[in-house]
Amino acid sequence: MTCGRIRRAVGPDRPIPSWAHAHLAACAACQAYLEDLRRLRRALAALADVPVPEDFRHRLHARVRALATPSARTFALWPRAFALAALMGLAFAILFTIGRGPQKPVDRARSPHPSPIESVTPLHPPAWRSAAPSAPSPEASKPVGPKGRPSMTMLARSGPARVPRATRPMEELELAVPLLETSATDLLGDRLLHDGVILLLRNEETQEESVLAIPPVVFGSRPLIPRPIPASASREELRRIL
């Protein structure tokens, strides 16, 4: 039996196993080892006594009462609320700044039409048509929807600049949305995230046309669901939809 095994088995805080008694009685080194551990344990136990200041409990109760006071708690929350608001504001500012990129300044003085028409341009050769629903052209009737879904053809989309607010008068909107005969399939280009788009879509099965206005929102929102435009829609109805 080795001393190492005995030393792993014995300790100052546990009884000596019966099989180790004989070795311990014969081995002076192991006896000294065990005695050292016992002295060490007594010396360590003497470190337990650490004085506590008399005002410890009073200071503690003052802290606890301060926590329990609603006004104090409310007051303590203010700095956090301000910090959170400032952080959120900063995050929004950074997101919108990065998301928009450099904006081209619009030279309104040189423009013959200072209305929103200058901020929208057609994607492809101008085949203008009115904003009111109309019969589709042969080129536009090509289905582009994925398999299994109703085919939607994009008849037109707004230009690269920002989409005017939907609260503007209908006349301006009509000018601001030059509708284009096209079968473009890229409905979600980069421009959508930066500027927003207004799309005129047609369901190839029902031949219903819908206006889809996607606002210039970077995150936290969904595009508006297309709404069918009844053929008999009045100007007021179209204005309300847009």
Partner: protein, 232 residues
């Protein structure tokens, strides 16, 4: 009449083990600090009363554990002022989280667990910022270039035997402070605070075998370091 633990556990919530102590409780607005009645209550009973807003019960818990907590944190951090701050923080957290306390563990285990987390966070913060305790500015050098740490003043008279014992205490305390953290926590909890192995395993969230091994290694380390210092 003081209810027993068995009675308390009988009314415990079947889902989460919460205690619901059915007895008239002291109003939070009128704490009865130092009431002898509290001295007879168990820790679990006092915690149930703290949950109901009884400040007197909380004061009794503080009275029972302020010295062990301060001692534990002081030996862990080797910095008295920080140990006092963290001991206070331990009790504040106990009070704040009283509603989450479960009576299915030893109360002191729960309290030591909070204190251990705070001590570990403080030690990590010190490592990150390479901080020195203020005490280290008051360290004197002995003739053999060994540092003599500042220790707490004691108003008692200074007989020779006491001086020798005090010197030994300081040497042992410095040896404990020089242990690696993982060994230090285990040996302080076992040989200074007197907790049992199972409790230490719960506090440190370690297997029982690992705790035993760490305590054994720490003892051997200290035995080597303090060879010749330990009195008969």
């Amino acid at each position: 009449m003081k209810p027993t633990i068995g009675q308390i556990e009988a009314v415990a919530s079947p889902n989460d083990g919460d205690l619901e102590l059915h007895r008239p409780l002291t109003s939070a607005a009128e704490p009865t600090w130092g009431t002898p009645e509290y001295a007879q209550w168990s820790d679990h009973e006092l915690m149930a009363a703290v949950r109901a807003g009884d400040e007197g019960a909380f004061d009794e818990l503080v009275r029972r554990y302020q010295s062990p907590m301060t001692g534990y944190l002081y030996r862990m951090l080797n910095d008295y002022e920080t140990a006092l701050d963290l001991a206070q923080e331990t009790f504040v957290r106990l009070y704040q989280n009283a509603h989450r306390y479960r009576a299915n563990h030893n109360f002191s285990t729960y309290l030591y667990r909070i204190a251990t987390n705070l001590a570990i966070s403080e030690l990590r913060r010190r490592k990150r910022w390479n901080m020195l305790p203020l005490v280290s500015f008051f360290v004197a050098k002995d003739g053999d270039d060994e540092e003599r740490a500042f220790d707490l003043p004691d108003p008692r008279p200074l007989p020779e035997a006491w001086i020798l014992r005090e010197e030994e205490r300081q040497i042992v305390a410095r040896a404990v402070a020089s242990l690696p953290e993982k060994y230090r926590a285990a040996i302080i909890l076992r040989d200074i605070q007197g907790l049992d192995y199972e409790q230490i395993a719960e506090i440190l969230r370690l297997p029982l075998g690992t705790v035993k091994s760490r305590i054994n290694r720490a003892r051997n380390f200290l035995r080597e370091k303090l060879r010749g210092y330990l009195s008969e």
